[in-house]
Every structure is written in C-alpha cells, then in structure tokens.
C-alpha cells in the first residue's frame, strides 16, 4: 500500500476475484440497464408503433402526394411510374413556358398508359385538389386517347378547350413532383398564381385561418370556464370530511364515466329550441313562444357541451393538489392579520398553481382537438378545425390537405407547450 502511494500511482481497487472494481461495477450497471431497458421495451415498441410512426406518416403525407407520378395496383401492389413523358417535358422547359406540340404529344403518350392502368381518375383527382373541374378533363381525354391523332394540341383542345389553360399547366407542373408544399399553402388559405407566386385565395374561399383562430379562441374560453367552475368544486371536495367528499366525488366521476355521445345528446335535449330549458322558460312566462333562445347548433352549444364534458379534467388535478394543502398555513396567515382575501391570494392560491397548470393544459389540449361534440351541436359557426380535418379525411378524401392541417395544429400545440414551459415551467405541473 505504502509502496504504491510512494510511486505516485493510486493502487487500483479490485474485487475479490482480482478484476478491477470499476469495470466490474460498470458491467453490473450495464446489466441492470439492459434489464430495465427490456422492461420498458414493450412500452417503447407500443409508442413507436401507435404514436411516433403514425405522426411521421402524417407529416410525410402532408408534403408528399404521388397521385400524379405513381400508380399502384391495389390487387397486386405493383407500382408503375406514370406521366413520365410530361415530367420530362417539364424538366426541359422552365415554368411559364407555353405548352407546345411536343408537350401535348408527351401528354398523349402518358394518357395511353393511364388508360391501360385505369388511372386517369387518380391523376385527375390530384390535379382537381388545386384546380376544380379538372377531373373530367383527364377522364374524358383518357377515353379518347386511343383515337387521337397528331397534331395532338388540336386533338386535346377538341376534347376540352381548357387544355391550354396556364393555370392547369402550373398545377400539373407542381404535381409532377411528388414532394410539394402546396398543401400547406392551401391549409393557410394561400395558393400559387400562374407565375408561381404565392397569393391569398379568394375572399369567399378563405376558411382555415379563421377556423384555427376560432379553435384557439374557443379552447381558451372553455379552459377558462372549466377553471371557474372547477376551482370551487375542487376546493369543496378537498376540504369536506372524507365521507361527504367521496360521495360528491362520485357526482364528478359519474359523468366522466358516461359515454361522450350520451352526454352530448343530453345537452341537445336540454338546449334545443323545443328543448327542456326553452320549454321551462316559456312555461314560466319568462320567454314568449316566438322568442325561444337559440342555444344549440351554434357556438353556444359547442361551448356549453364541451365545458361540461371537459370539466372533470380540471376538477381532478385541482383536487389532487388541494387535498394535501395544510389548512394551518391559511390559519396562520389569518392569525397574523391577513384578510381572508389576502390569505387566499397569497397563501392558498399559489399552492394550487401546479394543479391549475395541469388542468388547464389537459383541458386546452383536449379542446383544441375536439371533434365529435362540435360536429353534433356546433351547427355552422360552432365548427372547429378538427371538423374540417375530418371532412377532408372522410368526404373530400384529400388526405394530404388533412395531414397538412393536422400538422399545423400539432405545431401550434407544440409552440404553446414550449411557451407554457418557458413562462410557468413544466416541472410545476402536477397531475395527481
């Protein structure tokens, strides 16, 4: 021992069987880590498959649409590149070039293949996303492609005189590359003009920015309303003796366990113009029969129903934070001369902030993505952005636009989350 120190080298510590202690320790820790990793592996795989992959797919779909460039046979899953000739023409000629005979000849070649693959509808649909009325031009041209003879420019114009429309050629040029940001432009009420410059769409087609703003506004309003309603309830629950508070807790949880649809429909029964509330008001003579209040199929319906449905998500985190608060702090403040308002404001309230943060974040994020309740009770002006996403998923079948809208919504929430973290701190969150 002394020899070793004398040499200036610290003697290495070893285990009983002579191995260096450090390495043995490292190995043992690595083993433990591997075990721990194996334990979380199922969860990790689950999250990857059900959460990360779909989101990645969605983001990909929002910038990638191969409707114009690739055909996939549904039965055999064989993939055939399509519209290759016109793509070559686009590559050889700059944007804005007047389509010449060579362009139409290339187009004709492509249409022969489309006809064979039964794919003109698919290509037409892709172009139709950006220029309405184009679909039938493609299906009609494909139907007569076999009979067409040069000069092809005239042959195409015979089928439909809009084949030289510069707007159509601008859209085809954009669609001929599968990667595009045009769906994001559309999701922000923007489009490209004939020269490829980004411009706003017509006044009477602007919708998405308005809906994003409305979604944000209504979500903040609903979060605030749930806070106003939940705070006293949670306080009552937290301060009552356990046997009463448990009973009251059931009243909070019971609707929480009831189907969302049932709760939404109940609100329809209550609020519609021939509904319980209006009937009662008319019955008591407060309202005339002609002046029944319109509380359903508009924003009021959306706000009322969603506030009720999301209320438990605010009550529960608040309750879990208020329960352990020691009442002697407030009592101490009062005994030192604070008014009840000051004691609340400076002693009680600050202790509940983590619960408010958690509840507000939960309610807000749920509200931003809410879909079924506004669809049922929102009428025309109570619709949120998620209803339009569903519309493009299910009705217009423009999945790329739906994905772009969803991606923007996701980005918006991430930014708000980041702001929340900067302003309040995510460590202050207490879910229970």
């Amino acid at each position: 021992m002394t020899d070793a120190t004398a040499n200036g080298k610290p003697q290495m510590l070893t285990t009983a069987d002579g191995k260096p202690l450090k390495e043995a320790l490292k190995r043992a820790q690595a083993r433990a880590r591997r075990k721990a990793f194996l334990l979380v592996l199922p969860l990790l795989a689950f999250i990857l498959i059900t959460f990360v992959t779909p989101i990645a797919q969605m983001l990909h779909q929002s910038v990638y649409n191969e409707g114009f460039v690739m055909h996939e046979d549904i039965g055999t899953r064989t993939r055939t590149p399509i519209m290759t000739n016109i793509k070559a023409w686009f590559d050889g000629n700059s944007a804005g070039t007047e389509p010449d005979e060579a362009a139409f000849a290339a187009l004709h070649q492509d249409f022969l293949l489309l006809r064979e693959l039964r794919a003109p509808g698919q290509v037409g649909t892709r172009v139709n996303y950006e220029r309405g009325g184009s679909r039938s031009m493609f299906t009609k041209a494909a139907r007569s492609a076999e009979r067409m003879e040069p000069p092809y420019r005239e042959a195409f114009l015979d089928v439909d005189e809009e084949w030289t429309d510069p707007e159509l050629w601008r859209v085809m040029r954009d669609a001929s590359s599968a990667y595009t940001f045009n769906f994001y432009l559309a999701a922000l009420d923007r489009t490209k003009n004939v020269d490829g410059e980004i411009v706003s769409v017509d006044q009477n087609r602007q919708i998405y920015i308005k809906l994003f703003t409305r979604t944000l506004f209504l979500s903040v309003l609903i979060t605030f309303l749930t806070f106003l309603l939940a705070y006293p309830i949670a306080h009552l629950l937290a301060t009552l003796p356990l046997r009463y508070s448990n009973l009251l807790m059931i009243f909070v949880l019971l609707p929480f366990w009831t189907s969302l649809l049932v709760r939404t429909t109940s609100w329809m029964v209550l609020l519609q113009s021939q509904g319980v509330v209006n009937d009662a008001l008319v019955g008591m003579g407060i309202l005339g029969d002609e002046n029944r209040l319109q509380m359903m199929y508009n924003q009021i319906g959306t706000v009322v129903a969603m506030t009720h449905i999301l209320l438990p998500f605010m009550v529960l985190p608040l309750y879990s934070v208020m329960r352990p608060i020691n009442p002697s702090y407030v009592r101490a403040a009062r005994s030192l001369g604070a008014t009840s308002w000051t004691a609340f404001r400076r002693i009680y309230f600050p202790q509940t902030v983590p619960g408010i943060g958690a509840g507000a974040l939960l309610v807000f994020i749920l509200a931003v993505g809410y879909y079924i309740t506004p669809a049922l009770v929102g009428g025309a002006d109570g619709q949120l952005i998620s209803n339009l996403i569903a519309f493009h998923m299910q009705n217009s079948l423009n999945w790329s636009l739906a994905a772009a809208l969803a991606a923007l919504l996701l980005a918006g929430i991430l930014i708000l989350y980041w702001l929340y973290d900067r302003l309040i701190g995510i460590d202050n969150l207490k879910l229970g």
Binding site: Q122, G124, G132, G133, S136, N204, Q206, Q274, A380
Partner: protein, 357 residues
Amino acid sequence: MKLKTVLMATALAGAGFAAQAQEVTVMSWGGAYAKSQVEAYHKPFTAETGIKVNSVDADNPATPIKAQVEAGNVSIDVADVEFSDAVRLCDEGLLEPIDVGILPAAPDGTPATEDFIEGALQDCAVANIVWSTVVAYNSENVEGTPATIADFFDTETFPGKRGLRKSAKATLEMALMGDGVPAAEVYDMLETDEGVDRAFAKLDTIKGDIVWWEAGAQPPQLLADGEVVMSTAYNGRIFNAAVGENQPLEIVWDGQILDFDLFVVPKGAPNLEEAMQFIAFSTDTQRLADQASWISYGPARKSSGDLVGLYSDGKTEMAPHMPTAAKNLENALVNNFEFWVDMDAELNERFNAWLAQ
C-alpha cells in the same frame, strides 16, 4: 364402425359450420332505408342461399371505402352509394368491376341491360333505386301550405327554421331553383361563377334560419320535434315517418332532385363471390318491387314498376308516393353526376368557407 360414425359426425358438423360461416357484409344508410333493404333483400337472400347478411350503417357509405381499400383492410363486401360517388370511386380504381352478365333478365325475358333505366348500369355499379331530395314540412307547425321550392326560401310567408343537408350537393341546386331558375338550366348556370354566386346569395337570405343535418334519419326527427318547420330530406324517409309513423309530414315535389343509389363492391372485398351473388339477387325484378313496398323509392328496373303495389301496412297505394310518378316530375331535376364528380371538391370547399363565415 364406431370410429367411422364419429368421423362422419365431425365431417357433417364441419360442413355445417362452413356453410354457416358464409356471409356477406352490406353497408347502407341506416334508418328506414336500411330496414327496407333488410326486409326486401337481406332476409330473402339468406332464406334462399343460407348466406348470412351483416347490415352496417354509415352517414354516407362511400366515405369508408377509400380508407378501407387504400389501407388494404376491407371489411365491406357491398356498399350502397350515390351516383357521383360510384363513378368517382370506379375511376380511381377502388371498386371491382361488375359483369352485367350476372344480372338476371326480366320475367318476360328482356335482358337486364335493357330492363334497367338508362344510366343505372355502370362499369362498377348496379343501381337499385331512384330516390330524391325533396322539401318536406310539418303541416302542424307551418302556417299555410308551401307548394313550391321558392316557398322553402320564403321565410316571411312561412316563418320558422329550415333544415338543410350540410353539403353543397343538392343544396346549391335547390337554391337556384328557389330563386326561379328552371330545372333544365340549373347545371348550366352552376358551371359559371355567377351561377354559384347567385346560389350562395340565395342561401344567404335564410342562413340565420338553417339547421344543418348530416344523417338521412335526422330531418324527419327535426320536423317531428318542431325544431324546424321545413327541411330538405330524402323522400322515402318522409314517407315512412308520415305513413308508417303517422307524423303530420308533407312533401313538396316541386324542385325535387332525383338520383340513383347503386350497389358497388370495394376492391379486395373479403367475400367477393357472395357479394356478386347478393347484388344479382337483390336487383332482380321482384326484389326491387318488394323494396318499394317498404319505402317510397322507385325501382331501377322498368319491369319492377308494374309489380309495385301496396305499402307494408297493406292499404297505402305506393305509386303516387314514388318520386318517379308523373305528377311529381313536373318540375324535377335529375342529379348531374358528372358535374358533381368534377366540382364536388371545389364547391364543397367554398360551401365550407361560406358556412364558417
């Protein structure tokens, strides 16, 4: 010997099980319409072939098809869709072609290709009914008797809420007809920007009074509840509520919009053979006529017309309630599927923007 008996029994049980496992899933629009199909098609089909029919509902069966086919996870064998959707899905290669050769001839020997109404047979679709979008009203709640499509938009003479389907299709046409455009000129006008503007301007005049519906079962409910005094609706649903359930509902046939409903088979349907069998069976002369005794939709075969008799209550004559009855066709519009295949996305976009304003 004993072993043989056991084997036999097992084999028989197996065969029985296999026969029972045969099934076909049919997606339709729910409510009174789906019920009419269950009574007229599904039950007799199961009785004759032993193939079980699963009936599922959707607000519009065309919408799940694309999702299912593209995901390669098809659970529907047969779907009942509107004309423009059938053409669109077929163009996109999402449907199985249907061989008209499988369809039985009419009882008098007329081949199916001639027996069906013009347009009822498509590459991937076979029509079963002619239905229409009409204006209906609750005679107890509306003051006076609305008689024309213009009355629907006249909230001064006929005050009260209006129900409309939340979709550009049919809504825009009705707005133009309500503004005095004759049925024959509606689509020419809708093809121009001014025509579309005019339709929206007409809708603007009643925007504050509109309750929007999405499922076909909603308008009879809204009318019966008094939530609206007039609503657009599918004519068969109103008939069933009025005659079947004795609700005070009446139909304004002026400005009705006729359309086909067609059976289609999504690509990759799990029971393709049974699906084709089902379609051939359901669209024969007798079945189509039978269906008309459960709901007032016109059969798509000419030969079925004469067989249409009484409603299932045994006393109501069906003929005058059909959208195709001569008296009801005086100012009727036939849905232009090609227009909607083309303009659906564009006009619905504008429609949604208009709704959100």
